[in-house]
């Protein structure tokens, strides 16, 4: 669990770290859309170079990027094999029994590979350079227009930030309960299906009970400190939009437009 890089914040300082979370979240959304425009290899090369520059600017090491990709490899391999076998367009390149591979399938698979890699790296850059709390704050701000139609933006943001705050606590708790049950002879990695189910039950029930207890305590603590989700509150962390943010935003717009234009022209 400690080796998971995907979604983990890297506490260093860089140009990308200092950018406004609203910009980073918005840019990621735009870039994710841009990735799905078929701009050919030239388009992906442009986007690829942009992503490499962003990676360099955020001071994330290549090894860390690879670590983020690693847990996704299985899913990627599955998707790619699926594509390779089921797309039956263009010329037949290769056939062995019922396996038939077409040139279009190879092309599509390469595209999918590039898209997935780009998506993972871009998301990793966002989460590695933005504190979870700033992410929440950014999401809250970006969602604020929806407040008018009754969307509980503040509550959602509060829920996310509390969930983030308690993830390490609950992981620790999980380990503790697993060890306590292991001391009572439970083997989490071995045994028949029935034994496995029982061992999971012996973990899940205590975990839920303790999580509910924590939730109740937390609600009391929050209320005692005058928290009222419906009342007006001020925010300690203020987001400040700087010139760098504007420049970065223009760059992202330029890249995205280029992708769209290329997909139409090429």
């Amino acid at each position: 669990m400690n080796n998971m890089m995907f979604g983990k914040y890297l506490p260093i300082d860089s140009f990308i770290h200092r950018l406004d979370p609203r910009l980073k979240i918005g840019s990621l959304l735009l870039l994710l859309i841009a990735v799905f425009f078929d701009a050919g290899f030239i388009g992906y090369a442009v986007l690829g170079i942009f992503v490499i520059i962003m990676t360099l600017l955020s001071h994330i090491k290549v090894s860390q990027v690879l670590k983020a990709v690693k847990p996704m490899l299985f899913m990627m391999a599955f998707l790619m094999i699926f594509n390779l076998l089921f797309i039956q367009q263009g010329h037949l390149l290769f056939s062995l029994g019922f396996i038939k591979i077409y040139d279009q399938a190879v092309l599509q698979t390469v595209y999918i590979f590039i898209r997935l890699i780009l998506i993972i790296i871009m998301t990793t850059i966002l989460t590695a350079t933005t504190k979870p709390l700033d992410l929440t704050l950014g999401i809250e701000h970006l969602l604020s227009p929806f407040k008018k139609i009754g969307f509980p933006t503040h509550e959602v943001a509060m829920m996310i930030s509390i969930a983030l705050r308690f993830i390490p606590t609950l992981l620790e708790e999980t380990q503790r309960i697993m060890k306590a049950q292991a001391s009572r002879g439970v083997e989490f990695s071995e045994g028949s299906l029935k034994e496995k189910i029982l061992s999971i039950v012996s973990l899940i029930i205590p975990l839920f009970i303790s999580a509910f207890q924590r939730a109740e305590d937390l609600a009391n603590a929050m209320e005692s400190r005058n928290y009222n989700p419906e009342a007006k509150r001020t925010r300690y962390k203020q987001l400040v939009w700087t010139v760098s943010d504007t420049i970065a935003f223009l760059c992202v717009i330029a890249i995205c437009s280029a992708m769209v234009i290329m997909s139409i022209v090429l």
């Binding site: 509390i162 207890q213 929050m222 300690y236």
Partner: protein
């Protein structure tokens, strides 16, 4: 003396049949250090939640700083009281010490540009200034409780309730919190209500309320209440160490008065030895 907490004929039950708090009345004077003493299940933590308006009373009145606690005055009442709960982990709301202290300020609609100064001031007061940007998982239980106190102080209440706030801490954390709370009581004239089953802590307070099965069994100065050996024993509490010594000595025929303070007892015993 001014009554800052006034409770009259308060009753409460978690279900219809049983009363966890059964028609109790007490008052607490401004600037005092009061302990509410009782064994687990005596209803002492329930009282804390009732005072904060976290539970809805069945009947009776709670008046805090002259304001009767009702649905409408909830915020006014809560602004006067801060509470530190038992489990240090479950009351740490922010992602860092800084954010946690800010939480209460945000709720009170404090201007964000003033927050940094307030946060730093109170973090210094509880000796957590160097830890402002630390995450809760990197802090000890005692440090987390100190952050909780800083968060409360930042909201400038006049009463602090400690709901078994030190019972999950190691001796070092316990000592730090006790020292901090006593200092707040002395220097800032903060009213302290400590809910505990630690009789040695009660011995050091100004006023003791003894609770059992939702009733007040006895109340008064510790040197009066805690002297009653049979009463304390019947409530499944420990007798103060000094009292055990004086009562044992009395049985041996030594003429010594009952005592709950160990330091005073040492002095008395030495005088007795010299007189002999």
């Amino acid at each position: 003396m001014e009554k800052i907490i006034d409770v009259q004929h308060l009753s409460f039950g978690y279900d219809e049949e049983t009363l966890t708090i059964d028609n109790i009345s007490f008052s607490i004077q401004k600037g005092t250090y009061t302990t509410i003493l009782g064994h687990n299940g005596s209803g002492k933590s329930t009282i804390a939640k009732l005072l904060m308006g976290l539970l809805e009373k069945k009947s009776g009145d709670i008046i805090i700083g002259g304001i009767p606690l009702t649905e409408e005055t909830l915020n006014q009442v809560r602004s006067q009281i801060g509470i530190v709960f038992q489990n240090p982990d479950n009351q740490f709301i922010g992602a860092t010490v800084r954010d946690d202290i800010a939480f209460g300020l945000e709720n009170n609609c404090v201007d964000p540009s003033l927050m940094d100064d307030i946060i730093e001031e109170y973090a210094k007061k509880v000796n957590m200034y160097e830890f402002l940007d630390h995450e809760p998982t990197k802090l000890s239980g005692g440090q987390k409780q100190r952050v909780a106190i800083a968060g409360i102080l930042a909201m400038s209440p006049s009463i602090i309730i400690l709901d078994e706030a030190t019972s999950m801490l190691d001796p070092k954390g316990k000592k730090e919190i006790n020292a901090l709370v006593h200092q707040l009581n002395k220097d800032k004239n903060m009213t302290i209500v400590s809910i505990t089953h630690d009789i040695e802590e009660a011995a050091l307070s100004d006023y003791v309320i003894l609770l059992s099965d939702g009733h007040i069994v006895d109340e008064g100065k510790p040197e009066d209440v805690l002297m009653k050996k049979e009463e304390i024993e019947s409530l499944a509490l420990d007798i103060p160490f000094a009292l055990k010594v004086t009562q044992g000595l009395q049985q041996m025929g030594v003429s010594i008065a009952d005592q709950i303070d160990r330091e005073k007892l040492v002095k008395e015993l030495c005088q007795l030895r010299l007189k002999k």
